[in-house]
Symmetry: C2
Subunit: 568 residues, 2 copies
Amino acid sequence: MRFSRLLIPTTKETPNDATLASHIYLIRGGFIQSVGGSGLYNFLPLGKKVLDRVRSVVKEELDKAGCQEVSLSFVTPASLWEESGRYEKYGKELLRFKDRKNNEFVLGPTHEEMMVNLVRQSVKSYKQLPLNLYQINLKFRDEIRPRFGLMRGREFLMKDGYSFHVSEKDMKREFALMEETYKKIFTRLGLEFKVVEADSGAIGGSGSKEFMVLADSGEDTIVVCDNCDYGANIEAAVRREKACEAKAPETEPGKVHTPDTTTIEALSTFFDADPYYLVKTVAKRALYDEGKSEVVLFALRGSDELQEVKACNAVNANDLVDISEEELEAAGLLAGYMGPTVVPEGVRVVLDNNLKEADSMICGANEKDQHLAGVSFEGMAGDYHDIAAVQEGDLCPKCGSPMRYTKGIEAGHIFQLGTQYSEPLGATFLDENGKAQPMVMGTYGIGVSRLLAAIIEQNHDERGCIWTKESAPFDLQLIVSNIKDEAQVALGEKLYDALSAKGLDILFDDRKDRFGAKMKDYELLGIPHAVVIGKKLQDGLVEFISREGLVKEEVSADDILDVVGERV
Amino acid sequence: MRFSRLLIPTTKETPNDATLASHIYLIRGGFIQSVGGSGLYNFLPLGKKVLDRVRSVVKEELDKAGCQEVSLSFVTPASLWEESGRYEKYGKELLRFKDRKNNEFVLGPTHEEMMVNLVRQSVKSYKQLPLNLYQINLKFRDEIRPRFGLMRGREFLMKDGYSFHVSEKDMKREFALMEETYKKIFTRLGLEFKVVEADSGAIGGSGSKEFMVLADSGEDTIVVCDNCDYGANIEAAVRREKACEAKAPETEPGKVHTPDTTTIEALSTFFDADPYYLVKTVAKRALYDEGKSEVVLFALRGSDELQEVKACNAVNANDLVDISEEELEAAGLLAGYMGPTVVPEGVRVVLDNNLKEADSMICGANEKDQHLAGVSFEGMAGDYHDIAAVQEGDLCPKCGSPMRYTKGIEAGHIFQLGTQYSEPLGATFLDENGKAQPMVMGTYGIGVSRLLAAIIEQNHDERGCIWTKESAPFDLQLIVSNIKDEAQVALGEKLYDALSAKGLDILFDDRKDRFGAKMKDYELLGIPHAVVIGKKLQDGLVEFISREGLVKEEVSADDILDVVGERV
């Protein structure tokens, strides 16, 4: 296509609210345009083209894996969300509204209910299973703080797939197939990614994996092992049990007067004890359905940090929020001196698994200026969970090597859902004996519009985008340096026709602009390759550019078709 | 693809609310599924496939014509609608809602404001024009009475395109190009259609054409001339001036006592006058912005009928509603005796163009039991408009032949918009002299999901759908009659591979069902061709079926590949 006829409004101005490279370059390159600065975006011609290419890769691989594409209504009756119990639970990201007849609807942020509703109406028998249905469609989440461009918008394009099975075993087979299919998709898109164990979050279910595009700007912290393939979101990461080389403190069991000793650090000094032997007690307010809440004390070793998602899951709350000193006092608790062994009525205690059987521990006494020494958890009953965050250097649960942190962008997520939705919504099938059984489900998502941001976060330099082969809006940019030079134009037109005839998708920069401006645009747009027809054409030479590293080579004009054939 | 693995939930049950063939067959064939019976639909795998095929035809032809695809946010800030003045005006079909921060949004029912906003931010100079941008995207209109399946749903897929020009002349050039492009699209989709003059409705502007798919079930009445290519929606149709062979009534001018003579028929008898010489006076309440309204008398010849859309446009109202006798009395009017010549204060009068210079007319005197005879409109000042409906037999404005009515489904609509949106929204460009000018716009829509219904309305029989070549979900259905017969299955598999290898998209009915059930499904699904491998395979014969007319031919199994090659 001819640049002169396309709407590609490139600009030098960085948007005020943009900090991420992808946000800056997608706007500056005229791929997308903000609508009122509220997490809503228009895709301009170039952005739409990239979106379509990414969408095609996703669709092709899913179709090959036997998935079937459908398209569900975006506007969704609230009644379905009431059936599943999520209408109340989902929080304010679920945009609820009424139509002119006062019926309640939501803008689908995810479509479990809709898809289960579709299938419960269409599928009756085990003979119709398994099924894997997906759509690539709009979603809306009313984010409190939409940011980072396409990374965390409110309206976005998502591929959401749902599979239905007669058994857990068959669902796990499909889950594995989807893992392989997603790997193919991300590989084709040219992404460096890692499949990690993940928390299942609000969608629920057991067993889930995330596809993390590795990038320093990623919002997610991932724990990875370089020795084996283990990787997990910090929200779900586990480790080998931690030992401590330091000696246990020898303080006599019983109460100890500890004025002004309210931090792990101060306690460690006071008792000359490694934090491993101290109990860190963190108070949170856990929020549940229907406005219910309670105060929870989360206790773990002083050498560990609380992992809030794990903690939230441990009490099955919708959210955990911080608690003020006044609220603590009202609950009969005292900041700095809390402990899990003596607690006021009505306060719930959750213990980290690492405290199981722990001995010679020191913890708060729930009294001013008092700690308890020589506390033993041996044989102590309690509500034990994994609530500690894995730390850098902790040992891999699979191979025992030290692990490290890295950053990732969540671009895909696959879940083993089980019967969490099929049961309340009554999606059953008749088995071979004619008995009704709930369908076993899996669910599989890819953030399609977010992928555009993820690709650029991983593939850019200080000049602009560097699109990967299968995501690029064009295969090659053909630049005529001086549009008034007849020989340059003639060769440009000839190459444009010849390359197009070969099936290549060419952006032909035929604009009257200065050469410098055209090159700046080329660097910003980030098409993988370019051919520049410039002054050296007098000597029979043109330039072949690879956008990655901006590698420039002089090539004989006679050979350029061959070079492009080999390299693009 | 294998039928056994696809979700195609065919059913014999006709949905309760369905009267149109397309509604019935699209549901019964498992193409779409109603979501809570409120004008929302899911597209199941087969429906999605048809939708994608139709979408591809639309996209291919638009791209060839130089249009550029974009994708605009479906959730749209209300502020843009306030800028254009439509936020108040649009009525309840515009779904308005607030987000969690209490900001106002709408679900886009059409995207003029959004597209003008996009362009005013991106285009500064005449050098960047013309531009024709389109999207194929969701729309939502909160219809008071969603019905007829995909024909009048609330959420639907639409292609909406908008062009931007430096001049009226250039816009008209593009308008003509779009007319040609739309003709190509509807022709490729195998539709019998008519391009007709149309009313511009709420979108406004001057000069618009509709693409009507001809079908008895169409909601629109179209006036067509069989002698030339003239055609128009009845809302916009015009005719040659009508003459009357009957003699004018000779009643003396002045008031005539006309007790119980309140209808045109009664008046015609009473005065022994052709209705042509009577004045029909219709009272309506015209509704305007901000709750304003007024009583309007529309006067036309007694031989004509009021065309309400024309009448509404004549007073530039948002709507016309009927008026009760009490309201009439309150306005000083009397049903049956109203006339346009003597009216109470505050009542507006609109005269039909056909009354201009009319003589020897009889009309109500706005007094009980009184009419006026010998009324002449010669030289009479007044608010004259075309407000009469063209009738069957009226003469074509182009060639003078008698015209007739037919029914159509509006599948496309193209408008010459002018500067109606660019002016209020400030979408200007700098012309060659550096002077800011408002862009001249055109707008072009196709009801993409509605097209599925329109295709079936025009192409079905009593057994089911008959898809056209370019809209069909598959090219051919391959049916193995008895899946337990090894020879049949072997040939089926062989043909499936061979035909697929030829690039044909085959639905392979490999199900264990009875042959009769498979044929019923074939007839319902309406794929253009089928090959049936049945008992006669023993004699080396298979059956080739054309769905249109259900024409069945016996073909040698050895020749079937050639026959399919020639005919499909």
